[in-house]
Amino acid sequence: MKLRILFFVLSLAVAAPAGAALNVLACEPEWGALTRELAGDRAKVYEASTALQDVHHIQARPSLIAAARRADLVVCTGAELEIGWLPLLTSESGNARIQPNAPGYFEAARYVNLIEIPKRLDRREGDVHPMGNPHIQTDPRNVAKVAKALAERLQKIDPANAAWYQQRYQAFDQRWQQAIARWQSEGAPLKGLKIVVHHEAFDYLFRWLGVDQVGTLEPLPGVEPTISHMSQLLEAQKTNPAKLVVRASFNDPRASQWFAARAGIPAVMLPFSVGGDKVSTDLFSWYDDMLSILLKAAGK
C-alpha cells in the first residue's frame, strides 16, 4: 500500500513542464562550446567535465545523473572515451531520449576518421582505445566535420528551430574555415618541429601541423610517466633531440618539468579544450592560444 501511494505521488510529479530551450549535456567542454556556437541561446548546455580533468576518469556523480535525466541531447566524443561513466549516466537517467539508439545521443567520433587504431588489443599495452585515438577535437578539420553533423542533429531533434541552427552553422563554418586557413599559415613554421608529449592527447593537432612527435613521457598510454622510461627518452635526446615537451592541461606538470630540466628544453602546457587556461574561452580563442603557445615556445 505504501508503495502504491508513493508511486501515485510520484506520477503527479511526472508532468513536469518542458523548458523552452533545448537541454544539452556535453561530455567535454569542446562539444559544449560547439553546441553554443550552433544553438546560441536556444540551448542550455551543461558540461560534464572540464579541460583540467582527465576525461577518461570522470565519475558518474549525482549531478551528472540529474543532468542526463533532463537532457534532450547528449553530445560526447564516443570512441569509448567515456566508457567508464557515460553508460551509467544513460542507464541511470530513465531518459529514453538519450539512449544510444536515440537521436538525442550524439557521438562526435563517428563523423571523423580516427587514427592510431591498435592492431592488437591487450591491456598489457596500457589503456588502449580499441577504436583509435579519441582526442579528435585537436584537429580543426575534425571540428568542422562534427559541427556539420551536430547541426544536422540539432535540426532533427528540434525541427521548430531548424532554420536557426542551419543559419548559425553556416555562419560558424564560414568563420571556422577562414580560421583554419589562418592557423595553417600561422602554424607553418611548426612543421618538422620535434617534440615530446606527456600523453598522446594532441596527436591530431600535431599530425595536422606536421609537428614531429618523437616520444611520450607515459611508457604506455594512460600509465603515469616513470623515471626509467623518461631516462630512456633523455638518452634518445642525444641522437634525435626534441625542442619542446608538451603536456595537456589535465596532466600533472611534474613529469614534463622533470624532463624539461634535464633535457634543457622548455616545457609547455597546452589547453586540452576550451577552458584549459584563462585565454581559451571559446573554440576560436582556444586554437589561437594553442598555436601561440607552440610558436612562442619554439621561438618561431
Binding site: 508513493l6 511526472v14 576518469h57 558518474a60 545523473i65 561513466w85 576518421n113
Partner: protein
Amino acid sequence: MQRPVAMLVAAALACTVPVAARADTRDEIAQIRQQIEQMKQDYEARIDALEKRLAAAEAEGDKAQQEASQAQSAANSAAQQQRANAFNPAVSLVLQGHYANLSQDPNTYRIGGFIPSGQDVGPDKRGLSLAESELFFKANADPYFSGTLIASLAPDGGVDVENGYLETLALSHGWTLKAGRFFSKIGYLNEQHQHAWDFIDAPLPYRAFLGGQLGDDGVQAKWIAPTDLLVELGGEAGRGRNFPASDRNKNGASLGTLFGHVGGDFGVENSWRAGISYLETSPDDRTYEDGVTNAFTGHSRLWIADAVWKWAPNGDPTRRNFKLQGEYFHRRESGTLTYDTTGIALPGDYGSNQSGWYAQAVYQFMPRWRVGARYDRLSPGSVTIGQVDSGALTAADFPILQSYAPTLQTAMIDYSPSEFSLLRLQFARDKSRPDAPDDQIFLQYILSLGAHPAHTW
C-alpha cells in the same frame, strides 16, 4: 629502376661496337662520335624523364596508400562501431584472493548483542585463500530491456547467481524498472559490489542488520526528478529470501523498501549525496543458532541514513582525491521469539530497538596510492525477551543477546597499478565478540578482466 640500368648498358654497347667495326676515316670517326654523343644525350634525357616519372609515380603511390589507409581506418572504425553493437553480451571477470592473519578463530565469529544474520558475515578462512570470482554478463535484449547476470564462483566449487535482472531502457520521465535478483538501492554501500568497496569487508551495521548486503528477488521502481539537484525516489518489493527476512511460502512480497537520495555538486571540486531508506519485512520462523536453535516471527523495520562527500582538486580525481562516507542504521523488531525450536519450543514476546553506524574516510594522496580508515559501532539499545521477563528462562539462556556494544576499527592502504588491478593491505581490531578482540591483517588482490567496468559513484 631496372629499365634505366638496361638502357645504360645498351648505350655502353652502342659506344663500343661501332668503334671497333669501322674506323676508316677520321671524319667518319668524328661523325660516329657525334652520333654517339647524341645518343648518349638522348638516352640521358630519356633516363631523366623516366626517373622523374618514377618519382612522380612513387609519390602518387604514397598518396594512394595514405588515402587507402584513411579509408581503411574509416572502415575499421565503422566495423568497430558495429562490433560494439554485436549480440554477444559484454563479459567481464573479477578475480580476488587474499591472505588473512587473524588472532581469533574465524569459526567462532559472532556479533555480540545482535541476533545473528545467519550468513557468512565474519572474516573468511585464515591463511591464503581464493575469494569469490565474479563473472559478469551484460547486454541489451532489445530496445526495451537490458539484462545482467552476475555469477559468483565460490572458491570451493559451486556457482551462485549473485545478480540476474532486467532493466528497462525505453521508459522516460525519469523512470526505470528492474526485476529479478539485484542488490537493493537502500543505503549507499549496499548497491555496490564487494570488489568496489574501499575495504575488504562490509562495515558492522551492514553485517548485523542486512546480513552483509541485501540482495533479493523482486522488482524495483525508481524515479529521478527533472531538477538540477539529483532527486531519486524509489521502492522495491521482494520475496525476502535472506536476512532480515526469511524465505516464505507465500504469494505476496514479504520484503519492501523505500529509498530517496539527493545529490549534487558544490563548485567543481565537491560532490555529495545523502539519502534515507526504509526496509520493512515480516520474517516467519527466522532461525538462528545460539547453543540451541531459536526462531523469530514478527516484524522488522530498518531505517538507514547515508551521506557521502567527495573532493578532488579541480574535480579531477586521478591524482588526489578524498572521500568521506557514513551511514546510520536503526532497527526495531517485534514479534515472537521461540526458544529451542527442536526441543521445548518455548515461545515468548520479543522486542528490540537497536542501532549502529560507521564512518570512513579514504584519501588518495598520489596517483595509484590510497589510505583509508573506518570506524564501526553498534549500539545494543534495548532488547526484551518474554521468557526472561516471565522468569521461565534466564538471560544466560540467550548468550548471544547479552547486551554488548561491538566496535570495529580498520585502516587500509591500497595500490592500484591501473584501474584494472588493486593490491590492498588492511589492519583491523575487531571487537565483534564480547570477550575476545580479534586483531586482523589482510592482504588482498582484485583484478578485473574483460569489458571495461563502469562503477557507480
